[in-house]
């Protein structure tokens, strides 16, 4: 765009960018320090140094051998998969229907979904947990069912954006050629909309991986990774907890950065454009 943007004219821009980068990176740097610096040199000293005085893998080894965190991570994984799957099972039909009923009416439904989404998590979670206890759902299945509430509106919105970008006659042509609706869905509509569906699945997955409120209220024992991490942090076994937190944060960061690339070109706004 601006060809004359030389190094010098951009100096304030660079200064701003560097300062903001440092501010945003510092907490992550602290997590790395706590994980890899031997504890006696670190948090156990009254004023831990800002630069690493030593290096160790002891904290990570200790975390994996002493703490029972693999169970929660596996459970988190299952819950995230269930939430992602439910998003598609409920979201694809809903988005398909919304795409067919005309933009004005569809937007009314979308506004309704997003208003519902504003309902405070903790307000909804407590009665749900009381009812789920009666139904025998005070476990990770109940957590998955409740977390779905958080991600469903956005999933529908994203998938709808994908459907709206497809040519309108596509479905009609398939129907004229004799394909019934389920066949059209499986063979044509879903494959052609796969990138939006993938984004919806990944966002649902990541949201569930991170979700804490519903998880801690509905299933405080034998729960997901964030709840277990919270339990360890409050019981002050922080080096191990941080080592664990770091190793399971890295994959999520990678997913987030990859997703961010998708999102820029993807149909986040497609659902509203008519």
């Amino acid at each position: 765009m601006n060809v004359s943007s030389s190094w010098k004219s951009n100096l304030p821009l660079y200064i701003g960018a560097v300062i903001l980068s440092i501010i945003f990176f510092y907490p992550l740097y602290v997590l790395i320090l706590i994980t890899f610096v031997p504890a006696p040199l670190n948090n156990l000293s009254p004023y831990p140094p800002q630069f690493p005085p030593g290096f160790t893998f002891y904290n990570i080894i200790q975390a994996y051998s002493a703490l029972n965190l693999t169970g929660p991570v596996v459970r988190s994984f299952y819950v995230a998969m269930m939430v992602g799957g439910l998003s598609l099972a409920l979201g694809i039909p809903a988005a398909y229907g919304l795409n067919r009923i005309g933009v004005r009416m569809a937007n009314k439904f979308i506004i309704f979904f997003f208003l519902i989404n504003m309902m405070p998590g903790i307000v909804v979670a407590i009665p749900i947990s009381v009812e789920f206890l009666k139904l025998g759902l005070s476990n990770i299945y109940g957590v998955a069912l409740a977390q779905e509430l958080v991600v469903l509106p956005l999933s529908i919105f994203i998938i709808l954006g994908g459907f709206r970008a497809l040519p309108k006659d596509l479905e009609n042509q398939a129907r004229v050629d004799g394909a019934n609706l389920p066949t059209t869905m499986y063979r044509i509509l879903i494959p052609m909309n796969r990138s939006a569906i993938l984004v919806a699945f990944l966002i649902s997955w990541m949201t569930s991986w991170d979700e804490f409120t519903y998880a801690v209220i509905i299933s405080p024992v034998r729960s997901t990774f964030p709840v277990q991490l919270y339990n360890y942090v409050t019981r002050a076994v922080s080096f191990e907890a941080s080592a664990f937190a770091l190793t399971f944060t890295i994959p999520v960061i990678i997913v987030a950065v990859v997703l961010q690339k998708y999102l820029k070109s993807q149909s986040f706004t497609g659902g509203l454009s008519s």
């Binding site: 000293s45 800002q50 209220i217 999520v252």
Partner: protein
């Protein structure tokens, strides 16, 4: 003809509608109803009066302070970040990725990081302050410093989202507007206040709505960082919920209050600024 045609497609939406209603409108209504019940099942207002006794006012005020503080900090810094992100410069991609990262980090993990930075003994913030030659601060000693820690942690976690929303708004503004203003002799400040801000207002309203509501519901961060000391409205609700089967009725009452505050806030923002954008 058209009507019945539509009805067929609405059938596809019904499962999602039923699901969302069953798991949100129904529990919320249940919460409101039970807030007027005693554990024995008779009607009462005592749950609400008990809340006043347990410090509801202070929790509400503290929640309000955290929300306003976090919103101002987030909007201001996110605007700054978004304005850097739209500029084409070398290193833009690195900067964008770096600034997005906190959004991908689990809330509990980021709460944990900030509790390590701001712990009174062995905290990184204090070692920095001591290096500079000042006296260390006991961050959790007073309620105002505890709340500031929550605000800072929240800003780190959530500014990326606001920045992304504002970025999408900024990249939609046409460069010709700026060129025209430049040709007419408008300086950088003038361009910012007369073009950028007014054009960004609708999308800022959306960001304000989304973040404001979640700000008021902030739960995991204060629970991990400061516990119940001082309690915010959500941690107060959680504490009542955990304590006993009697105090759970207090948490229903507090939930009802929170629910009405959120509904009030959302309708004010939608009515004042966001309505036009939402209808579009």
């Amino acid at each position: 003809m058209q009507k019945s045609h539509n009805l067929k497609y609405i059938a596809f939406i019904i499962p999602a509608l039923v699901y969302v209603s069953a798991l949100s409108i129904f529990p919320a209504a249940l919460s409101v109803y039970r807030s007027f019940l005693t554990p024995g099942g008779s009607y009462t207002f005592s749950n609400y009066s008990a809340l006043l006794h347990y410090g509801l006012e202070k929790a509400l005020i503290d929640t309000l302070l955290v929300s306003i503080g976090a919103l101002i900090l987030q909007l201001f810094l996110a605007l700054f970040i978004a304005m850097i992100m739209v500029k084409p410069f070398k290193g833009n991609r690195i900067f964008s990725s770096l600034v997005i990262i906190p959004y991908g980090i689990s809330t509990v993990v980021s709460a944990f990081i900030f509790s390590m930075i701001f712990s009174a003994v062995g905290g990184y913030a204090n070692s920095f302050i001591v290096d500079l030659g000042f006296r260390p601060i006991d961050w959790v000693a007073t309620s105002s410093s505890s709340l500031s820690v929550v605000v800072i942690a929240d800003y780190w976690k959530n500014t990326p989202l606001v920045a992304l929303i504002l970025f999408s708004g900024l990249s939609g503004l046409s460069p010709s507007m700026y060129e025209a203003a430049k040709a007419d002799g408008a300086g950088a400040f003038r361009r910012f206040f007369s073009i950028t801000l007014p054009n960004l207002a609708p999308i800022m309203a959306i960001a304000l709505l989304i973040r404001g509501v979640s700000e008021f519901n902030i739960f995991a961060l204060p629970l991990v960082i400061i516990g119940y000391n001082p309690p915010l409205i959500t941690t107060l609700i959680y504490e009542f919920y955990q304590t006993s089967s009697t105090t759970i009725y207090y948490s229903y009452a507090a939930s009802t209050i929170l629910l009405f505050i959120i509904m009030g806030y959302a309708s004010i923002v939608l009515w004042k600024g966001g309505a036009k954008t939402y209808e579009r």
